[in-house]
Subunit: 375 residues, 2 copies
Amino acid sequence: MVATDAETKARAGVLHTPHGIVETPVFMPVGTQGTVKTLSQRELRELDARIILGNTYHLYLRPGMALMTEAGGLHEFMNWDRAILTDSGGFQVHSLAALNKITEDGVVFQSHIDGSKHLFTPEKVIEIEHLLGADIAMVFDECTPYPCSREDAKAAGERTLRWARQCLDAYDKYGRKSLAGHAQALFGIVQGSTYPDLRVRFAEETVALNFSGYAVGGTCVGEPKEKTWEAVSTVASHLPADRPRYMMGSGTPEDLIRGVMRGIDMFDCVMPTRNARNGTVFTQRGKVSIRAARHAREFEPIDAGCACYACRNYTRAYIRHLHHTREILGLRLATIHNVHFYLQLMRQMRQAIIAGDFAHWQTTFTNFYKGTTDE
Amino acid sequence: MVATDAETKARAGVLHTPHGIVETPVFMPVGTQGTVKTLSQRELRELDARIILGNTYHLYLRPGMALMTEAGGLHEFMNWDRAILTDSGGFQVHSLAALNKITEDGVVFQSHIDGSKHLFTPEKVIEIEHLLGADIAMVFDECTPYPCSREDAKAAGERTLRWARQCLDAYDKYGRKSLAGHAQALFGIVQGSTYPDLRVRFAEETVALNFSGYAVGGTCVGEPKEKTWEAVSTVASHLPADRPRYMMGSGTPEDLIRGVMRGIDMFDCVMPTRNARNGTVFTQRGKVSIRAARHAREFEPIDAGCACYACRNYTRAYIRHLHHTREILGLRLATIHNVHFYLQLMRQMRQAIIAGDFAHWQTTFTNFYKGTTDE
């Protein structure tokens, strides 16, 4: 840890990976299919993204592991020489695949693309992540839905723990390295749904397995926000201070701040990229729907003072026109802006934590930022 | 003129515009709606596009001229400080608009977007181009379809000539300047369909009106290729040597070479950008469908030796994956490559003409380039 906030649990740290240093707290843009949607790798570098997320489920199905192995792993395949985290596919086999069936061995699922049948086991997922060559791999987990009975949450958490041990064994078998030969970190995932005692128990038992980092799983699946934060706080307070903590699949700018205040170091979410493609952009004053008629004659940037390529070069009027005419440049500019907004938000938080100024920064930001306002 | 080829009618020249120098022969990427599809203006600069084309018909409908005027013209609106040529909408009111009706005054048409009714007259079109602020404006013409009776071709050509005079008057009324205050060139358009004597007559009568440049209109509308080249050769031989010649809406790489050999200086076509989005890329050996299975494991650039961003950084295997997964970066990389290919082709021709080596260059290129081959 570089610094911790005096008033909250916010932390500033550094992750060392074979593909460079990642300063935390960090937001990881989502590159599901080997590309962060609409962006080039050069643009990602210019946005100073230090780590992106790849989806095991999607990449396993397309382009498939034979090709990925031949390519030399995901870094080589997509020409990205900074860090990558791969998820385990645990979330996607439930949310995307058809006819998935969970057994003690793993999950049988049908591809959402061609209906083909596949089996993900802990060993299989670690093999895939070994071939993909992520700097940070995630264990294969069973992500509980919401609502979830206590019995189901207990069973899923226990299975996740058993799978975690199997993942560790497989990870050791590969020498904790990718096929390309660089060191890989493996993170555990804590389940437990909305049951604090289960969250505590699974946190402690996962920590006992001694992973390089820990993720809070099973949140942001439709539960009320207070349940989310209860789970995050509970889990975070039972994780070791010297390991990174990752809140999977979250969230809004406000969520990132709330997560950081609870001691979370890493985030990922499709929100900045997906919203951008729907014409919703983030500004210091809140979200703005760039398609709205009121922006038609605004010859000013999306966000005054923003240093991104879109704001330095194009007006709201032009970007709105591009969205109205369904031009790809409109999707690109909104994405560049939103990813910049998210990454800049994390950098600001980190600076504030280091400067011992986090509470003040947070108040100032929140006073300006109205999540529901459309200026 | 900088140089002319000894064996063919190929010419190398320079256009001076208020937004920079344009070396000819030149290909103009098509930016129909104020954006060259998928590309940013920075990428266009990096590709060293010196002039792009904007479509009067589309921009008039969206974002409309009130907004365009407020923005200060198309250059300002889209943040492009190099040259722009705007067409006159004459082609689009026939090909895109519903229920168009030609009278001596102009063309009444219905928007392809919302069905609203509009009237384009020569004066109206020049006003629009004055507001758009193109460096080169085109006269409003009646583009004949193929086939076209001699009677219709004669009537359309005569009407185009009358409209050309009206365009010149309107152009003079605006002081031959854009609303933003910079000088505009106005090009005449020669019609005449597939009738050589009409082509000669309309070429001479258009030249008598003394435009800054001349376009061959009414080609590439479905006629056999030999008719196209007959019309181009006929018209070109009746145009003054000291004015640029523009072949509208053409074409394939082979077409560009054939056009240059017949004394054409300027080209535009959606082919490099549209083909790119369909997964067809141009290489020194011919067209390649990047979606084809045979490219799945080709860990090499689209075109070995190509200096574009796509070829310097990404493999065919990766770009194919992006096209298969419908990722926007795939469309972008193919577009960058194809526009580079077209612009580079023009630069090579120019160099060969200046070096007195055009015939040799053309033979070498054609020996390698197989339009129909898919390697």
